[in-house]
């Protein structure tokens, strides 16, 4: 018996629930999730020469630019660890977030035709986009590992993996949830106001500078600390550096706040996405 038969008895009625995630339907359509992830991956790299290696070029260039501009010219300190590793670890977790947001932020607009013609659990598409981003994360993680080993072999001082790295999967899970939440928010907003499509990149850029990617959190004066804690990406970036390099701080209370913010963004994102999606199909 195939598992779609669990959805065999279908009730259709106006939906007034605030947040309703049909887990059963999502599970029944897991093959679609897998295929959409594959579709993304293939469509992205077919007819490119470097293929998935493109995933290395962007973080590598960014790291080099950051090292030159912020470290060499502006002399921003890097918590005493080699600057390349410092930037690379920050970018590792930041890119994981921003690329997922970028990909999923136009879900409704880009899939308008599909949504208007076929039924399937609507959340599958943004979830697939966020999940397929794990591939490019892994590629970047390899890059980081390469540089880590290189600097180790060179005997560069002042860094090392912290035992807290055992909790790293939790950080990634949080970033995954946060990027899905922000992506859902953005796709609802861009469906309503097309102007905002342009703004996504811009917003992410500002957001990056608001997070401690290129500077250590310790550099912030105390009076700005409180603002940076409102940003749910601050803690994940900071504790990534702590776990991978032993730099930066690890404050469990701050992490709890950031996790709670993430949860709020994810739930409100689900809510606004579902509401928008419902009226959206009626206008395409």
């Amino acid at each position: 018996m195939d598992s779609i038969s669990s959805t065999h008895h279908i009730f259709i009625r106006p939906n007034r629930a605030w947040v309703r995630v049909d887990w059963k339907a999502l599970w029944a359509y897991r093959d679609l999730l897998f295929l959409l992830v594959r579709r993304d991956f293939i469509a992205k790299y077919r007819q490119t020469i470097l293929g998935p290696l493109w995933g290395l070029v962007q973080p590598l260039l960014m790291t080099v630019v950051f090292t030159l501009v912020f470290n060499r010219v502006a002399k921003v300190p890097t918590d005493g660890v080699p600057s390349m590793l410092f930037y690379m670890s920050g970018l590792l977790v930041w890119n994981f977030f921003s690329q997922a947001v970028n990909a999923s932020s136009a879900t409704l607009v880009r899939n308008a035709n599909l949504y208007g013609k076929v039924y399937f659990p609507r959340l599958i598409v943004p979830v697939a986009l966020v999940v397929s981003n794990i591939f490019s994360f892994l590629i970047q993680a390899l890059l980081f590992l390469g540089f880590f080993i290189y600097f180790r072999a060179k005997g560069a001082p002042g860094f090392g993996v912290n035992a807290d790295i055992a909790l790293f999967p939790l950080v990634l899970l949080q970033v995954l949830a946060l990027s899905l939440g922000v992506g859902l928010w953005m796709s609802a907003l861009t469906a309503k106001y097309r102007d905002l499509t342009q703004m996504t990149t811009f917003l992410l850029q500002i957001w990056m500078y608001a997070s401690p990617v290129i500077y250590p959190l310790s550099l912030l004066p105390d009076k700005y600390r409180i603002y940076s804690q409102i940003n749910p990406m601050t803690t994940p970036v900071e504790i990534t550096k702590h776990m991978l390099l032993g730099a930066g701080s690890f404050d469990v209370a701050q992490w709890a706040i950031s996790a709670a913010t993430t949860l709020v963004i994810l739930l409100t994102g689900l809510m606004i996405f579902q509401r928008t999606e419902r009226s959206f199909v009626d206008t395409v």
Partner: protein
């Protein structure tokens, strides 16, 4: 037995233009107008009312398992909205429906195809979008490929497919889903004639296997061909529901102009319309049944607000087997010099040798003076019956009712003769039947 589909008081309201393609600037402008008191309250309210309409208005009916139900109605009658509600693409504003079985809906062929992926990859992706499991697609893969006739191009990205190949592949995937309930909207309008026939056959197969089909089409001939029951939607309400024949008769009668000034066919580009169409028999009275072999006269009452010079109009008569004959001004080079104001164009067939006891559908179309720009898109405008017996055409035997109902529709005079060229084998005396 419990009905497989129960539709209870479904209504659907659309708010026109209240969401969707809009820029932040528009929104800010509205806000500014409101803030500065420019928008008069009364005007705004009127505008809001005008922007709402009920696409479905308290629709209820049940479908039993194994029924094939055709949905007919004019454009905007709510057919597509009902299909969208039943396929869970959009939610009803009120009311509810219950579907007791797996649903596959084909509202547009090829939705979800990705142009960069190959045919093979798209079969899996599209199957999954339609709700198939991977194993299930694997099992039916060969069947799907055989049906679609694109085996040679399986590993080519579908962006290089012709539109025909695209449609064939997409229908093949959807048709092999084996749902208990199949919902199909107008997909047969695409593809070539032989493929359309293949699709109709596939759908009849689905129906004859005891599964349920809901089918929307503008072409009443395909509805008649496929459906045992027809639901006629008008203005979002169920106007009539019953056996195929009677409902279609009523429907097409209503289409034929429910009185003075009812515009039937309007040109999308020119200020000209056919206001009324009347079918007359030999006696000259308006009728909907023509004796076979008798005269068929069709009056087209037109109105043109601006002169339309030398248009080509054509009529097509179709039966359940498809289009069977035409009257085209281009064939006789008989065209009106100019259509202006009101008037009647009459087309007369002196003797229509059509199979009696079948229903026929009349379609109208038109081209502009240049002979290729459309003036009227081809539209079904009337339906009529042919009465009498084959004897009226000079055929002396009386065929069974079954033959009359399903035989091809045009009867040309013909003779049979028999010419044995070798003597029969003596041991077994041959029996030659003259029938």
């Amino acid at each position: 037995m419990e009905p497989i589909i129960e539709i209870r008081h479904i209504s659907k309201r659309y708010k026109l233009g209240s969401i969707g393609v809009k820029t932040l600037r528009d929104e800010l402008q509205v806000l500014w107008q409101r803030a500065s008191g420019k928008a008069r309250a009364g005007y705004e309210k009127n505008e809001r009312d005008a922007k709402e309409f009920w696409a479905l208005d308290d629709v209820s009916f049940n479908v039993r398992a194994g029924e094939t139900v055709g949905l007919v109605g004019r454009n905007g009658a709510g057919k597509s909205t009902l299909l969208k509600v039943l396929s869970r693409i959009t939610e009803p504003t009120s009311g509810e429906a219950e579907l007791r079985g797996r649903v596959s809906s084909l509202l547009e062929v090829g939705s979800g195809f990705h142009p960069e992926l190959s045919g093979r990859e798209n079969i899996y992706l599209n199957g999954a979008i339609l709700g198939m499991q991977r194993k299930e697609i694997q099992r039916k893969f060969d069947e799907i490929v055989a049906f679609s006739e694109v085996a040679k191009f399986l590993d080519t990205p579908v962006k290089r497919y012709s539109s025909g190949m695209y449609v064939r592949l997409a229908f093949a995937v959807a048709a092999h889903l084996e749902p208990e309930i199949l919902i199909v909207d107008e997909v047969l309008a695409v593809g070539d004639a032989s493929f359309q026939q293949k699709c109709v056959n596939k759908m009849s197969d689905v129906a004859s296997e005891g599964r349920t089909v809901i089918f929307v089409s503008h072409r009443t001939t395909s509805v008649q061909n496929l459906c045992s029951r027809v639901v006629w939607l008008d203005g979002g309400k169920v106007r009539m529901d019953g056996d195929c024949g009677p409902v279609l008769d009523e429907y097409l009668t209503a289409l034929q102009g429910s009185g003075e000034g009812a515009t039937l066919v309007r040109s999308p580009t020119e200020p000209v319309s056919i206001e009324k169409i009347q079918i007359r028999g030999a006696e000259g009275n308006p009728t909907l049944s023509i004796p076979t072999g008798g005269e068929l006269v069709i009056d087209l009452h037109y109105q043109a607000l601006q002169p339309i010079r030398q248009p080509y109009l054509y009529l097509i008569v179709s039966s359940q087997h498809g289009a069977i004959f035409t009257a085209n001004m281009a064939l006789r080079d008989q065209r009106p010099e100019v259509l202006e104001g009101r008037g009647v164009i009459t087309c007369r067939f002196p003797a229509v040798a059509l199979m009696p006891r079948q229903s026929y559908v009349l379609s109208l179309g038109g081209l502009k003076r240049d002979g290729h720009t459309p003036l009227f898109p081809k539209t079904e405008v009337a339906r009529f019956q042919v009465t009498g017996d084959t004897g009226d055409l000079g055929f002396d035997a009386e065929p069974a009712e079954r033959v009359m109902l399903h035989a091809p529709s045009v009867l040309l005079p013909h003779e049979w003769s028999f010419h044995p060229t070798a003597p029969a084998v003596p041991a077994e005396p041959a029996e030659v039947s003259a029938r």
